[in-house]
Amino acid sequence: MAAIYSLYIINKSGGLIFYKGRMDTNDSLRVASLWHSMHAISQQLSPTTGCSGIELLEADTFDLHCFQSLTGTKFFVVCEPGTQHMEALLKVVYELYTDYVLKNPFYEMEMPIRCELFDINLTQAVQKDRVALLGR
């Protein structure tokens, strides 16, 4: 069973609005803003024009898949190397975000996500995909 180590959602300005994983809160905030900057820098470094930023980062012990929506919200997941269907999972998470977060009248834009329905459906979606949301 393939494992996902953590899931991050960051807003337009690079602030962490959702995190699922076992890292300390401060560390996760730091990692999120780090990724935001790297993503932005990669767009400038690209030799081709119209680059939309890093989509996949492959390392020895993990893979990082990133999805950026049209509005600049970034969804990225750290998983075991070689895990399949992560892009599809990120699209599913995006759909859950538009449904259970954006249609919630009590959610303020760009603020941390505290929606019960989003958490419940996210866990269901991840489990349905037969991957385990493990920590590290």
Binding site: D99, Y100, K103, N104, P105, F106, R114, C115, E116, L117, F118, I120
Partner: protein, 194 residues
């Protein structure tokens, strides 16, 4: 309506038949609109019970109009005079037209004679809404409670209608119950009618 013949032109707009209209509306569009309604009202009030009252008033206006429309369109201008009649009208016809399905169940209250309950696993209006913990017992179903109140009161059955969460064991999400408490005069009239 797509047809091959010429559409009959009516001289007076009041002569045109009342069409069934489009049966379906985008759920997302409604969800966003309702979310905006709640957000707007939140800025206008100071506390939660006022917010519930406002949502109920909004629903009341809908209920009054829905009753008129359905009486003309679906019931052939017949008027309900019995309690059970109007309750099953709300439970089936009104729910079907507004939410696309009949309500899950209609029960009579065991403790009081004047209480009836319509319950639903999850109200359509609440599908995407997660109430934050600090809002306590607030229920966006107050809008639906207002609709029911509008229908009942304009049909001649004044009542106090509220929406409640009822926790169910074995399920994470609580069920929703619309509690209808009829006024004294309704029960007296019902007893007189036998």
């Amino acid at each position: 309506m797509i047809g091959t013949g010429k559409i009959k032109q009516y001289a007076n707009v009041l002569d045109k038949p009342l069409g069934k209209g489009k049966q379906e509306v985008s759920l997302s569009a409604f969800a966003f609109l309702f979310s905006e309604l709640v957000q707007y009202n939140q800025t206008q009030v100071d506390n939660i019970s006022e917010l519930e009252t406002r949502l109920e008033d909004a629903g009341y206006a809908v209920g009054a109009r829905v009753l008129e429309l359905l009486c003309h369109r679906d019931k052939g201008n017949r008027r309900e005079t019995r309690l059970l009649g109007i309750l099953s009208f709300v439970h089936s016809t009104v729910w079907k037209v507004l939410f696309g399905k009949v309500a899950d169940s209609l029960e009579k209250g065991t403790e009081h004679e004047d209480e009836y309950m319509i319950s639903e696993k999850e109200l359509l209006v609440n599908r995407f809404i997660s109430i934050p913990k600090d809002m306590g017992t607030f229920h966006c179903g107050a809008f639906v409670a207002g609709i029911v109140k509008g229908v009942l009161e304009n049909a001649g059955f004044p009542a106090v209608v509220t929406a409640h969460f009822v926790p169910v064991e074995g399920q994470q999400r609580p069920r929703t119950t619309i509690l209808i408490k009829f006024a004294e005069e309704v029960l007296r009239r019902e007893a007189r009618l036998g």
